[in-house]
Amino acid sequence: MQNIPRKSRSQLRRFGVGIVLAGLVVTAGACGSSGSTKTSDSKNAASTTAASGSSNAFDPAKFKDITATLKGSGSTFQQNYNLGAINVLEKALPNLKISYGGGGSGQGKSDLADGVVDFAGSDSLIKPENLSKYKSTVLYFPTVVAPITVSYDLDGVTGLKLDGPALAKIFSGKVTTWNDASIKALNPSAKLPADPITVCHRADASGTTTNFSKFLVAAGGTDWTLGSSDTIDWPTGTQGAQGNGGVAACIAKKSGAIGYVDFADAKAQKLTFASIKNASGSFVEASLKGASAAAAAAAVKDDLTYDPINATGADVYPITSPTWVLVSSTQKDANVAKGLGAFLTFLLTDGQDSSFTDSLDYAPIPKALATKALAQVDKIKAS
């Protein structure tokens, strides 16, 4: 090294940095592809449906000439589904690039209003007073449903049964120990300890919070006075965490903790779920089947919004969350409009295949609703 001129030595060093950077890029790429093994199974599943020629199959040839980059943000509830679908779709349409960052339903809606994303994920509707903040009509595309679990961590207690009033009392801090009479009455045979209850909830603005609190409004009766919203004024003594994953972690680590978590995150953290009493009086454990039953029982409005919370039916899991992809009907960029059309068409055709949704811990929406939503894709226009 002694006789190498100074300049070329510095070039060597820069060359070295380049190698390191290139190495990082390669590893990142490798990580990206190895992380997607789960969805490559789903791809096979999706493509077999396409081959079987069902009426709602995705035809990539129709969208081949679209070149667009789409950005989305919002609901962490639908994030795993979106990422799984994007992974499959980007392989079929290599010129279409889609990204989806989480951030919560609240963030998705405000990002869409600010025009920084092309689509938003949300589990709750836009509040009427905020509609004026959006530049054009916002279309709701229902995509999947999934249960919101009431998960808990309590030594030696499985198969806990809870109903609306009991949940309302626990989450509003009126019941503070596990052996309280209101829990005992529902679980006469369980060995409930005298331990204090730690309530875990979302710290960020969340559609999961909206839907869970909607259930408490519907089924909690006079015991629930905190209303329903993206953020709730939780009582003292409760604990907040960020995102569904954060709440799952909050429950998983605490003996005596209870909280509401989406199905996928609760399963990933191997949490124990409670069975919840539905409007027909039966106790149902959180499952995709129970979520499908709830979605099928809900009445759909003209704008394709519907409310499966506390729906009637023996098999219905009562805390079932809907979720929508929100898109502005008028798009500035024609390519983006076409790209959104391709993305939504995929979600509402091959994306509804139950082997694909099951693999990601979601249930498809009812067929009739998917057909209506598919027809709505044509309403996205470029200005």
Binding site: M1, I4, P5, K7, S8, Q11, L12, F15, G103, G104, S105, G106, Q107, K109, S110, A113, I126, K127, E129, N130, K133, D195, P196, T198, A203, D204, A205, L226, G227, S229, D230, T231, I232, D233, W234, T236, G237, T238, Q239, G240, A241, Q242, A249, C250, K253, K254, G256
Partner: protein, 318 residues
């Protein structure tokens, strides 16, 4: 090893100019340089003023709606649009104070060890390690706190204060913050102590003082200004830390004297709540918290500067 050779630069311009040219270009460079530094200085000032103006303007509706209640109210409700910042101010101050109480003795110990006790050969590597601690991103501290230490903390807290104690709490946040500010509080006194004139030390030893007496009478008084300043800087850092605290503090809007319970800080709630949909006045109120935090941090930093300056003047006088 193969070497890459590039042709060396053929022209070296510095040798061509004659003296007069050099003087002229030197003057021009002088002017350009002073202009450049002036711009840099003004940019800092403009940024600071801009931040204050922008945040205060944005926060104004919340200040106006809440009045003095914004600073003294204990309810923060996006459902009823009532915003009182006291639980956040309380949590911010409590976590920062816990951090200082834990970090200051540890940092001073490290600083004194490095300057007085540590073998010279080990000093370099240890200093490098401490500086490395300062380079760890705060989110990593937060994740380590959540993933690795949550259960440990919870078990220990519960053993001491009963089954209600929580692994995500004001105390947890304080402990994590303490680790984050130890490098800051260590480095400044270390340099201060290292500059204590050798003859002070030797004179003390010559009078028969023990090592402890030398530390107490000759070294600590001379380094006290630096130590106070460092503590203030650490405090500033602890007050403003966001993501590590958001991960471990437990995000509960409450004022509780039990530090093993979840709480909140100003930076935490800004990070967690700023994502809401068209939140209207809550967004202004969060910005208001930003202004309050900014004011507190500025006050702490100004106090640090005053203390350090006074100590330096006193040291210079003796």
């Amino acid at each position: 090893m193969t070497t890459v050779r590039t042709p060396s630069p053929s022209v070296l311009p510095a040798h061509r100019t004659d003296g007069r040219n050099r003087a002229r270009s030197g003057r021009r460079l002088d002017r350009a340089f002073s202009g450049l530094t002036l711009t840099a200085g003004l940019t800092i000032l403009a940024t600071l003023v801009g931040v204050v103006l922008a945040t205060a303007t944005f926060a104004w509706p919340a200040f106006r709606a809440g009045g003095i209640g914004f600073f003294t109210g204990t309810t923060w409700s996006s459902q009823t649009n009532t915003f009182g910042a006291l639980p956040m101010i309380y949590g911010t101050v409590v976590t920062a104070v816990i951090a200082i109480i834990l970090a200051v003795p540890a940092s001073l110990g490290v600083a004194l060890f490095l300057t007085e006790v540590c073998p010279r050969r080990l000093r370099g590597p240890i200093v490098a390690l401490i500086d490395l601690l300062a380079a760890i991103p705060s989110v990593v501290f937060g994740l380590v706190g959540v993933l690795a230490f949550h259960n440990v903390f919870q078990t220990v807290f519960r053993a001491i204060t009963g089954p209600k104690a929580n692994g995500s709490s004001l105390l947890t946040a304080g402990i994590i913050l303490a680790f984050m500010i130890i490098p800051i509080i260590t480095s400044i006194p270390r340099e201060g102590i290292a500059t204590v004139p050798g003859h002070h030390r030797e004179a003390s030893y010559a009078l028969g003082a023990t090592r402890w007496e030398v530390l107490r009478t000759a070294i600590l008084p001379a380094g006290s200004g630096g130590i106070t300043g460092a503590v203030m800087l650490g405090l500033g850092r602890a007050l403003g830390e966001t993501i590590a605290v958001a991960l471990v503090v437990g995000s509960a809007i409450q004022i509780t004297p039990d530090i093993t319970q979840p709480g909140t800080t100003m930076a935490e709630i800004i990070a967690n709540r700023f994502n809401g949909e068209g939140m209207g006045i809550e967004r202004n109120a969060l910005m208001g918290l930003g202004v309050v935090l900014f004011m507190i941090t500025i006050a702490v930093n100004v106090a640090a500067r005053v203390v350090v300056n006074r100590a330096q003047r006193r040291n210079a006088g003796t």
